[in-house]
Structure formats: structure tokens, C-alpha cells
């Protein structure tokens, strides 16, 4: 044990002390503790003596155990008594009580306002407190606070050596002078605060203990050790436990001591309820951690110096919360892991410092000089500044860089902190409490006893996110936002399981080719469920992809354009980090870079819902969780029969001299495109979005460039390109996306194809025939916009609006009446007869040669580009096509969960879906321009409509031919399958999905007539086996093979495709929530409902 005072002080306290006068702070606190009351104390300082005295009297007059405070102003604190006196004379405002300027007489008069029983403490913040101590002792006061380190390093530029010397003299003066007048000096170390934020507890505890040892070495016999509330309740409780144990370990037994807690000293909540909540929690912490005195903060802390009344309110609230917590105080058992960690680290620090010199002042100087003590983010020249810390995702403070601190630690990484992250961490507690209190305000202070708060349940709700791409992230974002708004009753632990980088997942990997583009404009993409505000980016408030991109990479970003997929991947990982960095203390997220290979329940014998879920990971461990979210994204399917045959054919016929290859479908990123030799004939099967990625990689990716020609783009080949033959059913690429003329928040409000009308249709006549009952309304809506836009271009917006109103009225009975109505406006009144007219322009048409087809195709695509350039608001066709995107959710409301007859559902997926995609999901104009340039350069040779790919056993190669283009047959060395693999759980290679299917824990959705469902189906009744995962409506629980519902599992996104329509959406949209965000939020809400007491186990 360190013996205080060894070889240092000449003053030895007398063995028997005279009785202490009333108002001795140490005695008062001890007696209060024995009476079971927490002592509460304000920080209060007014410039004028009368105001200060009134404040002291008011605090002392409260029916609570209080200590009154004189808080000193900044000028007095830094020893600029001339400035303080001048301000006092001139009547200028000061931020505290200028004690030295007022002098001892006035100070004594002010202190007397506390009466006889209430102690008065002087709080100042000075690195050289001698003048203050002289004045206060002359005024009869004996209690103060500070310390050679805690009032030097964080608070100015006084050299530490000067501060240590000044404090040594000042403490000796205060203790001797007080003793000479029959009083006992009390000194409180401010070491538990330091910079107020971001200092790991072990250093706070160590400095607090060391400073109290310093006080004792210089004559003090009554001390208090401080700790400021930090970011995590359990860690704070542990720190208080450690502080108490270390005080007992290092301080001589005769020294009177207690623990004082400071309500949070960092950025304070801005709202009154938020501030009160934080205050209440500090009082609860004080009780839990065994602190006997609490220094409060007021609800105006964030805004201005508080009034006396505001201070009194804060004292009442704190005492009220402490009283309630006393009832609920748990029996203290063994130290927690938090306590053990703080204890071990702080003890190491203290011992290391004490070993440096017998003189503690000298030891402190050496310790800071060598970096054995090092306050993170402290700018003082005598602080080494090598140690760094962070708020961990779980809310605990931890070291990220130890500098020269003598601590042993594992797995602590050095990560540079950005200013935004710093701001986020500094404001985290304030934000959390403002949000939490906003939804669930803390009680008003009252004298009535309150029921004890519910004991914190030890068991967290554990949730596995299987797949952490955009869908998983969308749920996590809402889960975190909800937890921040209202802390769940149980802590929630999330395991984000994905073998790829969390956030981006497989599809949006950040390391993919920069030539792979998204097909949604960056500013229409967001993963935050609310727009960014002045605060740090966090769940519920963050930038869209476009905003983030512009900020992240201003040189390259085109927020109005289409971002590379890798950029979106980086954005997603940024969102993931934002979530992790701003987690409320109730939520923990673990990244598990692994694949789930099978899942079962821990008590199978109790039936399908028996026990928790056990997920076996490919790296060996088993994860046990209460809830599972299946968000595995794009499938990896077994090749179908033809694909298998082709792969086999390629293997058999390939020779080193003339390789033959079949590249199976998937994402362009995963295709071995680099292996395709220059000059090889490559057939690309499918002309959708993957086709464009492949096209870019085989041209731009091989060194070719596009330049501006006189008439559109020109392609300058590198010579390394293959010959590219492209074929699909329609033979044409996707229609070009119209140039954007709408704000990201814009949503088209349907007039005819309304959600209400479709709901009514479904209610009356489900299952529906899409083509007969639904499509006419959808077409009418498309045509309404087409014709209204044409009218607006010729006759102006008023005429268009008039037409729309009339059309909505007359078409309500028959959607086909639009043409007649439009005819009166002297425009082209012909509506679209169907989407095929747009997407399949060459249906039934024959071409005499590939050259003729290319000529016609070029004209067609140029015309489409011209339409696109007119824009998606001004251009009639593109405005009309945009309707399909905007009403997607209404289509889903009709189709999803068995809204169509089996036959119609089949037709919808096979016919309508591809057409709608052709018309409304196309690429940006630049892609179509590149298509034309490659065609003109002879690199790209579209085969023609109705392209048939085949294996030619005679040639030993593949071949492709269009039945509508003469002489189009062409042999191929390579076939690249650019079709999106469709969801088909029966063919899914994912071992988890396979296992769940085999065990009957999930099933595919079969659309069957209601009468035939479940039991035997009547002979001949058509059924449609979709291949998608069968699930309930929101919140999307999987349905088991026996028809029962697994309510502890959710499924979101592509695995449920076909049961639901168009799940291949990897982003939310700014503005009002669409289904992407709504679905995520519904699942988050359901998960949190399970965290309620009595919620599922």
C-alpha cells in the first residue's frame, strides 16, 4: 500500500481532533449517507453578492440534503482579478462569482446565507488557487475542489510544473489555515472529469485517486474522489465501484473520503425532457455506484448560465430520482466485468505513477512527461497527446491508441477519427436523451414516492441478420433509429452475418469495377430513413447517395447522374458505420463475417417453435438467437437443364487453341470476363442491365474510349475487344431513362390507377386477372400522363390540367375514353395500346440482313434517345414511362400474396414484368449513346429479335441466330448468360435455404385457387408454383411446409420474390417512405415488440 505523506509533508494530523463545526462537508455527506440520502449540489455562480446570497439561501432552504456552491467566474479562475474587478465595477456580466474581487467580508456574508447546517463549497477551476483559497479561508470557508492535474491540463496553458507547485502550496495553506481556525479543509479532486468527454474511465479514476493522494500528502484529511457520468451506464457503474475500491486501497484509513458523481459534463441535451432524463439517470447511477454526493446540471445547460430556479428544479429532480433508485438498489455482488476492467487499468496507472518518485508532485510531472498519463484530445503542451479513445459501438468508452500508457490491451485498433465522427461522439449522449425523452418524457419532480424502476433484465434479445446488404441494413437502420427514440425494455443484440463487407454485401462490393453503374440516379437513392440535419449522420437522419457522393469525392461525383455500383457500396458501408458509431446503449451490433450453413431450434422436441434458433456458421461456431431475419439477396442457383448442357458442351469442346466457354448468369462482377480473348466471338444472352455492365467491361475495361463525335459518341477501340453479339427476345436494348427533371422527393400521384381503386378491385374480386381487370387502369394512367404532357407542350399547363380533370371524370367508368377526349386538343391523341408497342418495336417484322437490322435499330434507339432528352417530365413518352416506376407499389398491392389467379400470376411474371422492366428500368442516356457508338464501330452486333442461342455439335462451338433477320447465324466461342437468375428456392445453392426447405421450415409460394389450398387439389385446377419464399404480409414471416407461420423469423427482399413483386430494389428513396423503408420499419417494430417484457423468448 502506498503510504500517503511519506517523506513529504511536515504536518501530521493530531491523533484526537476537536469536534468539527457544523457545515463540515465530509461529516455532512457521511451523515446523509447513513440516513440513506444522496447529497445534491448545484454549480451556481452569480456576479452580484446579493444574487449569490439569494441563490445560496435557496439551495440551503430546500427540504433536501444539499451543499451550496459558490462557482467562480473565468477571470478570477485564470488569476486576472483586475479584469474581474473592472467588470464588477462596470456592471458587466460575468459567468460566476468573482470571489477575490468581492473579498472575504462579502464572501462571508454570502456564505452565511446557507445557515449553519449546510456546507458551502467553492468551485473554481484554477491552476493556481492560492488567491481564492486565501479569500475563502478568510471568509471562514474550508471546502473547495480541483487538483494540480485536473485544473491545469484541460483548462489552460499554465505549465504543469507551475500548477503542481501552486497546488502544493495552496493545499498546504488551506489545510493548515483551516485547522488553525478549528475547521477541517475538504478537497475534492476534479480528476473524474478532465475534458468532460471521451476519456476512458480508468484514466479518470486514476487521476482522481492520484490527486486525492496529493491532497493527503499535503495535509488534507477529508477528500472526495470524483467521477463524471460518461456514455454507458454499466461501464459507469463499474468505474464507480473501481473508484471506491481503489480509494480504500490507496488512501490512509484515517482520511475521511467519499465519492462524488458529476452529472454528464459533455455536450448537454437541448430539450428540457432530454436534460431531465440525463439528470435522472445520473442520480440513479450515483445510487447504483455508491456515490454519496451528486453535482447536478440544469435543463438549460446547453443554452445559457442557469437561473437559481432552474438549479433548484435540477436538485429536486435529482433527489427524486435518487430516492426512487434507492428502493430498487440491487444487492451488490461481485464486481462486474466493467468494474474489473476499470479497476485493473486504473490500478496499473496509479502504481506506475507512484513508482516514479516519493514526491507525488514530481511523480505526476514525470508521468505526463513520459506519457504514462496522457489525456486523449487534450491540447495542453505538457500533455503528450498520443493516446486516443472512442465511443465503441456498444456505447462504452475505450482506448483506440494507448500512446505510452502502461496498459496491456488486446485488439485495439488505431483508427483516425474524422471531425464528423468526433462531433457524433461528442453529441451522442445529448442526442440520445433528447430523442428518448421526446417519446417517453421522464416524470416531473414530485415528493410522492415513485415505484422502483424495473430492474434491467439481464438477457438481451438476440437477433441474427442473415445477410447484411441493403435490405439487412435497412432494417438495422430502422431498428437503431427506433431504439434511439425509445429505449427497448430489454437490450438488443444484433449479429450481422455476411461473408462480404457489412452494408455492401455481395452485390455492392466496394472492390468491383468502376464501370459497373447503378440504374437509379444517385440523388434518388438513400439508405437513411430521414434527411440529414445539422447533427451528425445517424439512423433516421443522413444524406442521400448523391449528397454523400458530392461530399466524399467532389472531383468525381455526379450526384445528378448514376453512381458506379462500387460507390454505392462505399456509401452502404458508410451508413453501416454511422449506425455502429451512433448506437444507443440499448443496442449492440456484432459483425460476423461468415456464412450461415444451417439452422435449427434448440428444443426440437417441443415442436417447430421450441427453443432458440441455432445458426451454424461456416467458420465453425454456433450462434444462438431469438430472432432471425433472412435477407440473403440475389440467389445463386443450380444451373437449369440447358445451362448444365451448355456448360458441359463448352468443357467438352474447348481446346487451348480455340477455347469455348459458357459463362453462367449472375452479376458481371463475378464473371470471368478477363479470360475472354481479344477477337473472340462472344454472344451475350439477355440485353438488360447486366448486359450493359458486361459491355462496358469488354470495351472501356479493355482500354477503349468514347469521344464526342459530330453526331453522338464515337468509340475508339483498343484492339483488345472481342466481337460482341447480343441477343434477346425483343432484340432491342432497354429503353433509355428520361433525363431527370424531377426533384428526388417527387412522387407522381396516380389519378386513375389509384391504390384505393385497386384495393377495391382486390376486395371485390380477388384473385384477379391482371390483364383484364388491372392492366387497363394501369395503361389508362400511363396514357393520361402521355396525353396530358403532349397537351401541356402545345397548349400550356392549364389546358393539361383541364384535360386531366375531365379525363379522370370520364374515364372513371371506362378507362378507354381518353382518346376521344384528347382528340379535341389538336395533338396526337393516340394512346399506347400496350407496353409491347414500346418495348417490342420489331415484333413480327422481318429484316433482309443484319446490316438492315442494325440500321433500323440505330434509328429506333436514336429516336428513343431523343425522347429521353426531352426529359421525364417534359417528354411525353418518358413522363408516361416514369408512371410505371411511381405506381410500382400499387401494382404490388394487387399482385402480392396471391392477388392474381394462378394463370394470371404466371402471365404477369412472364409477360408483364419483363415489359415493364424494358420500359421503366432502363439505363441512363450515356449508356444508349455508348451502345450506338459500339454498334457503329462494329464491336457490337445485335443479333435481332427472337435470338436463339444453341450449341452446334458439328462446329463444336455455340451459335446464335435471329429468326427475323436473314443470314444472322453466327458461330460463338463464348456465351455469356446476362439474364438475372430468378428466385427459385428449389434450385437455390445456399446451404441455409436448402436445409430450411428440406426441414420444412420454409416453403415456396404456390398460387392455387383458394378452394384447393392445403388439401388435395381438384382435378385440372391450375396451380402456379412460383419458386419464391412463401411469407405472410407485413412483417413478413415465413410460412412453413405445413402452413404454420414462424413468427420468430422474418424474410425480406429477393428470397420472397414472386410471393411479392419487384423485390430487386436495393435502396430507399428520399422523401416520403416507400415500401423499401416501410417494410424495413415494420420488421424493426416487430423485432422490438419482442424485446418487451413478456415478448417472445
Amino acid at each position: 500500500m502506498y503510504r500517503a505523506g511519506s517523506g513529504l509533508t511536515t504536518t501530521v494530523p493530531p491523533a484526537a481532533q476537536p469536534p468539527l463545526p457544523p457545515g463540515d462537508l465530509g461529516t455532512f455527506v457521511r451523515e446523509s449517507a447513513e440516513a440513506g440520502a444522496l447529497v445534491v449540489q448545484p454549480r451556481m455562480g452569480m456576479v452580484g453578492a446579493e444574487d449569490m446570497a439569494a441563490g445560496v439561501a435557496a439551495v440551503a432552504g430546500l427540504p433536501l440534503r444539499t451543499v451550496a456552491t459558490l462557482t467562480i467566474d473565468s477571470y478570477t479562475r485564470v488569476g486576472d482579478h483586475a479584469a474581474a474587478t473592472a467588470a464588477l465595477r462596470a456592471g458587466l456580466p460575468l459567468n460566476g462569482f468573482p470571489l477575490v474581487s468581492h473579498g472575504p467580508k462579502t464572501t462571508a456574508r454570502v456564505a452565511a446565507a446557507a445557515g449553519r447546517g449546510t456546507p458551502v463549497q467553492v468551485r473554481h477551476g484554477s491552476a493556481d488557487p492560492m488567491a481564492i483559497f486565501r479569500t475563502m479561508t478568510a471568509a471562514g470557508l474550508a471546502a473547495s475542489e480541483g487538483g494540480p492535474v485536473s485544473y491545469c491540463l484541460p483548462y489552460g496553458r499554465t505549465p504543469l510544473a507551475e500548477s503542481v507547485a501552486a497546488w502544493r502550496d495552496s493545499v498546504q495553506f488551506l489545510t493548515e489555515e483551516s485547522r488553525a481556525h478549528g475547521r477541517r479543509a475538504h478537497l475534492e479532486s476534479f480528476g473524474g472529469c478532465l475534458l468532460g468527454q471521451l476519456c476512458p474511465p480508468s484514466l479518470l479514476v486514476a487521476v482522481s485517486v492520484l490527486e486525492c493522494l496529493f491532497f493527503v500528502a499535503n495535509g488534507a484529511t477529508s477528500v472526495s474522489l470524483s467521477y463524471a457520468q460518461q456514455t454507458h451506464p454499466a461501464q459507469d457503474t463499474g468505474a464507480l465501484t473501481a473508484l471506491r475500491m481503489l480509494a480504500d486501497e490507496f488512501l490512509p484509513p484515517a482520511v475521511d473520503r467519499h465519492i462524488v458523481l458529476y452529472t454528464y459534463m459533455g455536450v448537454y441535451p437541448k430539450t428540457v425532457p432530454g436534460a431531465r432524463l440525463l439528470l435522472r439517470r445520473s442520480a440513479e447511477l450515483a445510487v447504483r455506484g455508491g456515490a454519496r454526493r451528486l453535482i447536478v446540471k440544469t435543463e438549460t445547460e446547453a443554452h445559457r448560465i442557469p437561473t437559481v430556479a432552474e438549479n433548484l428544479t435540477a436538485l429536486r429532480i435529482a433527489a427524486d430520482a435518487a430516492g426512487a433508485a434507492h428502493g430498487a438498489r440491487a444487492a451488490s455482488g461481485a464486481p462486474t466485468a466493467d468494474a474489473e476492467e476499470v479497476l485493473a487499468e486504473a490500478r496499473t496507472l496509479i502504481t506506475a505513477v507512484l513508482g516514479l518518485s516519493d514526491d507525488l508532485g514530481t511523480a505526476l510531472l514525470k508521468a505526463f512527461d513520459r506519457g504514462l498519463l496522457d489525456v486523449p484530445y487534450c491540447l495542453h503542451p505538457d500533455n503528450r497527446g498520443a493516446a486516443r479513445s472512442t465511443v465503441a459501438p456498444d456505447g462504452r468508452l475505450q482506448w483506440t491508441d494507448l500512446g505510452a500508457l502502461p496498459l496491456l490491451t488486446t485488439s485495439r485498433r488505431t483508427i483516425p477519427m474524422t471531425s464528423r465522427q468526433l462531433a457524433g461522439m461528442l453529441g451522442r449522449v445529448a442526442r440520445e436523451h433528447d430523442l428518448a425523452a421526446g417519446t417517453n418524457p421522464p416524470p416531473e419532480p414530485a415528493s410522492a414516492p415513485r415505484p422502483a424502476p424495473e430492474p434491467q433484465p439481464a438477457e438481451p434479445l438476440r437477433i441474427a441478420f442473415v445477410g447484411m446488404g441493403p435490405r439487412g441494413l435497412s432494417v438495422l437502420e430502422r431498428l437503431a433509429a427506433r431504439c434511439a427514440e425509445e429505449p427497448p425494455a430489454r437490450p438488443v443484440e444484433v449479429f450481422a452475418v455476411d461473408p462480404y463487407e457489412a452494408g455492401a454485401g455481395r452485390i455492392w462490393r466496394t472492390d468491383q469495377s468502376p464501370r459497373f453503374l447503378m440504374n437509379t440516379p444517385a440523388q434518388e437513392v438513400t439508405m437513411f430513413s430521414g434527411p440529414a440535419d445539422a447533427g451528425p449522420h445517424r439512423p433516421g437522419a443522413g444524406p442521400s447517395l448523391g449528397e454523400w457522393w458530392a461530399d466524399d469525392d467532389p472531383a468525381a461525383a455526379e450526384p445528378d447522374g448514376y453512381a458506379p455500383r462500387a460507390v454505392y457500396g462505399r456509401y452502404l458501408t458508410y451508413v453501416m458505420r454511422c449506425v455502429e458509431e451512433s448506437l444507443p446503449s440499448s443496442l449492440t451490433v456484432h459483425r460476423i463475417p461468415a456464412r450461415v450453413i444451417c439452422a435449427d431450434r434448440s428444443r426440437e422436441e417441443d415442436g417447430p417453435d421450441g427453443g432458440v434458433h441455432r445458426l451454424r456458421l461456416d467458420r465453425g461456431e454456433v450462434l444462438t438467437v431469438d430472432r432471425v431475419l433472412i435477407a440473403t439477396g440475389h440467389p445463386d442457383n443450380e444451373p437449369d437443364e440447358q445451362q448444365g448442357t451448355w456448360a458441359e458442351f463448352a468443357r467438352e469442346n474447348s481446346t487451348p487453341a480455340r477455347p469455348v466457354r459458357y459463362v453462367a448468369g449472375g452479376t458481371a462482377n463475378e464473371m470471368p470476363l478477363a479470360d475472354i480473348p481479344a477477337g473472340a466471338s462472344v454472344g451475350i444472352l439477355g440485353m438488360g442491365l447486366t448486359f450493359y455492365d458486361i459491355l462496358a467491361e469488354l470495351t472501356l475495361g479493355r482500354g477503349g474510349t468514347f469521344t464526342e463525335g459530330g453526331d453522338g459518341l464515337l468509340y475508339l477501340p483498343s484492339g483488345k475487344e472481342p466481337r460482341i453479339m447480343a441477343g434477346s427476345r425483343g432484340g432491342v436494348p432497354l429503353l433509355t431513362r428520361g433525363a431527370n427533371q424531377k426533384s428526388p422527393e417527387h412522387r407522381y400521384q396516380a389519378r386513375l390507377f389509384t391504390a384505393e381503386r385497386m384495393a377495391a378491385l382486390r376486395a371485390e374480386g380477388a384473385p384477379l386477372d391482371f390483364e383484364r381487370s388491372v392492366l387497363p387502369w394501369l395503361l389508362a394512367e400511363v396514357n393520361l400522363v402521355l396525353l396530358a404532357t403532349r397537351i401541356r407542350r402545345v397548349h400550356g399547363p392549364d389546358a393539361a390540367a383541364e384535360f386531366t380533370e375531365r379525363a379522370v371524370e370520364s374515364a372513371a367508368d371506362d378507362p378507354r375514353l381518353l382518346e376521344g377526349l384528347a382528340a379535341g386538343y389538336r395533338i396526337d391523341p393516340r394512346p399506347l395500346t400496350g407496353l409491347a408497342a414500346l418495348a417490342r418495336p420489331f415484333q413480327g417484322r422481318r429484316f433482309g440482313s443484319p446490316a438492315e437490322f442494325h440500321k433500323v435499330l440505330t434509328e429506333w434507339l436514336r429516336a428513343d434517345l431523343a425522347e429521353a432528352r426531352q426529359g421525364n417530365a417534359e417528354g411525353p413518352l418518358k413522363a408516361a414511362a416514369d408512371v410505371l416506376r411511381d405506381v410500382r407499389q400499387t401494382v404490388r398491392s394487387v399482385v402480392d400474396f396471391g392477388g392474381l389467379t394462378p394463370a394470371s400470376h404466371r402471365w404477369f411474371l412472364a409477360e408483364f414484368g419483363p415489359l415493364a422492366a424494358m420500359v421503366s428500368t432502363g439505363p441512363p442516356p450515356v449508356r444508349s449513346e455508348q451502345f450506338l457508338a459500339l454498334l457503329a464501330a462494329g464491336i457490337l452486333e445485335p443479333v435481332g429479335p427472337g435470338a436463339r442461342f444453341e450449341a452446334d455439335p458439328v462446329e463444336g462451338r455455340f451459335a446464335v441466330e435471329s429468326e427475323q433477320v436473314e443470314n444472322s447465324w453466327v458461330p460463338l466461342d463464348v456465351v455469356v448468360d446476362a439474364r438475372q437468375p430468378s428466385t427459385d428456392l428449389a434450385a437455390d445453392r445456399d446451404p441455409l435455404i436448402r436445409g430450411l426447405m428440406v426441414d420444412g421450415r420454409i416453403r415456396t409460394f404456390t398460387n392455387a385457387p383458394a378452394a384447393a389450398e392445403g388439401g388435395e387439389r381438384s382435378e385440372g385446377a391450375e396451380v402456379f408454383a412460383t419458386g419464391g419464399l412463401d411469407c405472410t404480409e407485413s412483417p413478413f414471416h415465413p410460412v412453413r411446409a405445413d402452413g404454420s407461420v414462424d413468427t420468430s423469423t422474418h424474410v425480406l427482399g429477393i428470397p420472397s420474390e414472386h410471393t411479392r413483386w419487384f423485390t430487386q430494389v436495393g435502396s430507399g428513396r428520399p422523401g416520403p417512405w416507400g415500401s423499401f423503408t416501410k417494410d424495413a420499419d415494420a420488421i424493426a417494430a416487430a423485432l422490438l415488440a419482442a424485446a418487451r417484457p413478456g415478448g417472445a423468448r
Binding site: 485564470v78 448560465i305 491540447l379
Partner: protein, 157 residues
Amino acid sequence: MTPSARPQSLRSPEPSRRVLLTTGSSDAHTWNLVHLQLFLEEHGHSVLNLGPCVPEELLVDTARMTRPDLVVLSSVNGHGHQDGLRAARALRGDRATRSVPMVIGGLLGISPEGAATRTAELLDAGFDEVYADGTPPTALLRRLGELGGACTGRAAA
């Protein structure tokens, strides 16, 4: 290094400026200084951070020696108005630092009343701009971008 581990927004603006970051002589707060330093450095500027409680002589001496492109005084303790006036008079009263651009921002008074008067006085004393509390730090980037001419010097800071 994976892309995600990259600090964001590390870019070198042209030209990169040298900022002398300071606070009032009575202001002990430093988080505002730590944050501003990080922020400005992330945007490619170099920062000399004087830390808390900067006496006027230290400010003037450092400015004379290092010839910064901009002096930024950030204060949050409520004395920023009085401290700022003294800092401005000291800098403007010295021939060598008379023309160095300087701005001030933060919580400059202990209450919102009189903010307009305070701003006028600070501008009058020589500040080129007074930022109201809550102004985002990007305002500084704008100010740095608007500084005319080449950098004033490259003497070691």
C-alpha cells in the same frame, strides 16, 4: 487499405491555406478547437492550434512568426465578445499582423441579447467576419476559398 477504411473527404484544395486557430484568453474550452482542427485538416488546410486560454501576446507573437492565411478565434465560454475585442485590437495594433485576415465565431456572449451590437463591435475592432453560434464550419471553407492571392508564406508553422 480497403476503401471503407479510408478517412473521408481527404482532399487537397487549391490552394491549401494555413490557419492559426485560437480562442479567448479566458476560454478554457478545447473540444471546439479539436473539432475545427480536424475539420480544416480534413479539407486540406494546415492548422496551428494554440489551445485554450490564449493571451493576446501569444496570439500576436505566433501570428508574426508564422504569418497565417487566416486567424480563426473560436470561443464558447460567453466571454468571447470581450476576449475577442482584445485579441482583435492586439492583432490590429501590431504592424506585422495588421492585415492578416481574422474571423471569430462561437457562443460570444452569455445570453443572446445584444448579439447584433456585439457583432458590430467585433467587426469594428477588426474582425473580417463574425459567425453566429451554430454556423456550420463549412463557412470557414468558403472564407478560405475566397482569400485572394497566393499564400502569404511558407515559413514553418
